[in-house]
Subunit: 209 residues, 2 copies
Amino acid sequence: MTPTITAFERSPDGGKGLARDTRVRWALEEVGQPYKVRLVSFRAMKEPAHLALHPFGQIPTYEEGDLALFETGAIVFHIAERHAGLLPDGANARSRAITWMFAALNTVEPPILELVTAKILEGDKPWSKERLPLVKDRVRDRLMEVSSGLNAVESSSHCAKRPVNILYSGSRLWWSHIRAPVADVAGGKPAEGCVDRWGARCGARRLGR
Amino acid sequence: MTPTITAFERSPDGGKGLARDTRVRWALEEVGQPYKVRLVSFRAMKEPAHLALHPFGQIPTYEEGDLALFETGAIVFHIAERHAGLLPDGANARSRAITWMFAALNTVEPPILELVTAKILEGDKPWSKERLPLVKDRVRDRLMEVSSGLNAVESSSHCAKRPVNILYSGSRLWWSHIRAPVADVAGGKPAEGCVDRWGARCGARRLGR
């Protein structure tokens, strides 16, 4: 059955692919799964019909027969479990890849979300100018940890057998999104290390739509 | 093989169970899996031996033979996949439970983390007093969405067949942690609705250690 996802009728980024439906589209394209897209307006996102699919009134959602999912992490994982190619086969390698997926969402993304909040929701506050550098520092520190961690993963014997599977499956879907804040934090200069290399590889890929 | 987890040598909360090892302990206790605990000092957390296990220099970690994991979401999911009782059996119900796990980590927790950051890292800043109510409002708004969403889940035909499995497996491990910020946000008065009921049920459970 062809799944249906939702996306912004008018994306705030003007279609640069920073909205979260990109993660889901990327996973679906990666495994060659056709899908339908239903565009949703900002008003419709907060109405009962959409809230029944997504209790936080956001996009994307994922509908497939009787199944309705939200949360990009859960949707991407759902796709990765049902199609070959996104998660490694070995049990330990798979668990490691899932670990990096959770890390992207629960450890790396929160400071980035705080930066977005500081700019969008508090950009007009009297403390904004003085506070923003602190928030950016926290993003930079976290990204440097990611970079060190991934360098270690790449060179460690623990995961050396499946570096490509671990680093470029499942988890890799997230890292292209980290690139934008990295460039922003570093004043347009890409951060060093693994994240940068990942970003370059991810950025080299273009969705067919 | 008995897994080994790490925890704070001296927990900042003085042992109230708010540190993240509680999530992992809870999952392990829930499925009856014995485990060892290695306590780590704040200094040791940032040294190479621990960073090799946890690239962000935090706790908990999870070691089981050749496998080393970090990220509580990944560790709890790893435990839930290998033991009965934490995730429902049906494929769709399982995917829904996983969705709520990701929601807890990537949608609900970030504003709570921002509140923690505002208090701990920015509590002494000149903007702290004026800004804190904004941060608390965002936590409250998100928790109200969770509450509405879970009420809807409980009463919807979509998930009604397995409400207990969905609501109190996997996902439920996280919700006890939301209670503390809820009480804080509401000035000690518990938030209304499902989150409150979950919190009460979760709080009624006591770990054996």
